[in-house]
Structure formats: structure tokens, C-alpha cells
């Protein structure tokens, strides 16, 4: 076994995954190659030291904090803001739609009256007084005026 092969298989050897035939070659290489033998020794030492690393305990308040966050989730600020924004937009849309509907009605009334006047004038030859439509009411503007 060459040193490159040794290094490539070192983890399999340490973790017990190396096949029997290769394992024998591996062990023979350890006894014949000082550098690879040192390499293996260092890897094992690192593994040993890692297991001794003291991992601190997690904070004892973590689960309480998780529960509190979940309770907040019922009415999260972002959700409330979104609902408020959507409601405001809807209200504005309703207000504007009333305004435009009214404008539309005024315009419709104006055109309707104009059409009636044209028909009347043509049939009678009589010039009709001009009226205007304001706030859904027909008001007289006198002899002249525009629709």
C-alpha cells in the first residue's frame, strides 16, 4: 500500500469500515512507514481530544422563550399591521367608488337631459331652457349654459 492510499483509507480504518484484505495491507504499512504511523497517531489523538471538549449546557430558559414566541404568534405585529393596511385600502376603495359612482350618475343624467332636449327641440322647434345637473338634482342655469 502506498502512502496516498493509506491516507485515503485512514477514516475507514479508524471507524471500522475497511475490508479485511485492505485492513491487513493497512496494518503492514503502519509498521513499515514511520510517517504514516505518526499520521494515524495524530488523527486518533485529535479524535480523542474532540471527545473531551466540554460542551456547555444550553440555557435553561430556552423552552419558555419558545412558548412565549408561539403565544405572540397568535397576534403577531406584522399580521395586525397587514390586516390594518388591507382594511384601510378597502375602505378607501369603497369611498372612492362612491365618489366615482356619483360622478357617473351626474354625467349620465346630464347626457340624458341633453338627448331629451335635442329631441324636444327638433320635434317642437322650441328652444328649451338649459338646465344643469348638480348633486343629482336638475337645476336651471337660465337661458344659456352648458351641459
Amino acid at each position: 500500500m502506498k502512502c496516498n492510499d493509506f491516507k485515503r483509507n485512514i477514516s475507514l480504518f479508524i471507524d471500522g469500515y475497511l475490508k479485511e484484505d485492505l485492513k491487513k495491507e493497512f496494518e503492514e504499512h503502519i509498521s513499515s512507514c514511520k510517517e504514516c504511523s505518526e499520521f494515524l497517531k495524530d488523527i486518533l489523538k485529535i479524535s480523542e481530544e474532540v471527545k473531551k471538549i466540554e460542551i456547555p449546557e444550553p440555557s435553561p430558559f430556552i423552552f419558555e422563550r419558545v412558548k412565549n414566541r408561539l403565544k405572540e404568534r397568535v397576534f403577531p405585529k406584522a399580521f395586525v399591521l397587514k390586516v390594518a393596511f388591507a382594511t384601510s385600502l378597502s375602505l378607501l376603495a369603497v369611498i372612492f367608488s362612491f365618489h366615482f359612482v356619483n360622478k357617473g350618475r351626474e354625467e349620465y343624467a346630464r347626457r340624458y337631459i341633453k338627448e331629451l332636449y335635442i329631441i324636444k327641440e327638433k320635434s317642437t322647434g322650441y328652444q328649451m331652457p338649459v338646465y344643469n345637473v348638480e348633486n343629482n338634482y336638475i337645476v336651471s342655469t337660465g337661458r344659456s349654459g352648458t351641459f
Binding site: K7, L12, I46, V50, E57
Partner: protein, 153 residues
């Protein structure tokens, strides 16, 4: 919630070991553990066959998100020339582990700190066993190269 509290009591230490092995910072580790259980409870346990693996996957995603938000170079903390005064081997090992790229680090931590075997690591990370073997081997070789002088002392 009682059921989740039971899961927390049974699994939190194990999950924390993985998290700490990845971040080596107590404040970050606590934050990640909290976020892990928050997301797990929010998502629910429906369809979860292996709770431990499920929690580790969530924790792993949170850690990766955290690293993405911070600068990668700061998180990896690539090892520079060690000063002669730094003689604590375990601290050097921690620093060296932090210097591994995430793909090597997580395999190394799951093997050496969490004690999983190759099949378990492959299933958890959803990678082939061959990839587990090669990443673990590279992690070990890289650590040895970094710590060579310290190991001689």
C-alpha cells in the same frame, strides 16, 4: 405543548451538542436551539419519523442561514499562524474545527461529537455514503495538517 416539552427534555442536549460543535459560541448556540424548536413546533410533527434527525436538519438550516447573513470569512475563521503562547490543544482543536468548510465540519461534528455512524450521517444529510467517507477523511486530514505542530508538543 406537553408532548413538545417532553421532546425538548429528551432531545435538546443532543441537538445542542451538534449546534455547539458547529458554531462554538454559547450565545449563538442557544439562539439556534431556541429557533430550532420554535420552527419545529410551528411546523408540527405530522409525518416526522425520526424526530432527532428532523431537529438536526432544522438546526443545520438555521446555522447555514446565520452564516449566510454574516460574512463567510468571519465565520470560517481561517487559521492564521498560531502564536507560541497558545498551548491549549483543545482550544486549538476548536479553532481548527471552526476553520473547516461547513460541508466537512458538519460531517466531522456528527461523527465525532454526536457519535453517528456513516449510514446515519448519510441519511440525515441526504448525501451518499461515499460523500460522507470522503468529507470525513478530508476533515481529519485538514485538522491534522493544521494541528501538526501542536500535536508534537
Amino acid at each position: 405543548m406537553e408532548e413538545w416539552e417532553k421532546i425538548y427534555n429528551e432531545e435538546s442536549e443532543y441537538i445542542y451538542r451538534f449546534i455547539y460543535g458547529m458554531v462554538y459560541n454559547q450565545d449563538d448556540a442557544n439562539e439556534v436551539l431556541q429557533e430550532t424548536f420554535y420552527r419545529a413546533i410551528k411546523h408540527g410533527k405530522k409525518g416526522v419519523k425520526n424526530m432527532r434527525a428532523y431537529l438536526i436538519r432544522i438546526a443545520r438550516n438555521i446555522i447555514y442561514d446565520m452564516w449566510r447573513k454574516r460574512k463567510q470569512e468571519e465565520e470560517r475563521m481561517r487559521e492564521r499562524e498560531e502564536s507560541a503562547s497558545d498551548v491549549d490543544l483543545r482550544m486549538d482543536i476548536e479553532k481548527a474545527i471552526k476553520g473547516l468548510i461547513p460541508e466537512y465540519r458538519e460531517v466531522f461534528v456528527l461523527k465525532e461529537i454526536n457519535g453517528l455512524n456513516y449510514d446515519e450521517i448519510a441519511a440525515l444529510l441526504k448525501i451518499p455514503i461515499g460523500t460522507v467517507k470522503s468529507r470525513l477523511n478530508r476533515a481529519r486530514i485538514e485538522l491534522r495538517e493544521k494541528l501538526r505542530r501542536k500535536l508534537e508538543m
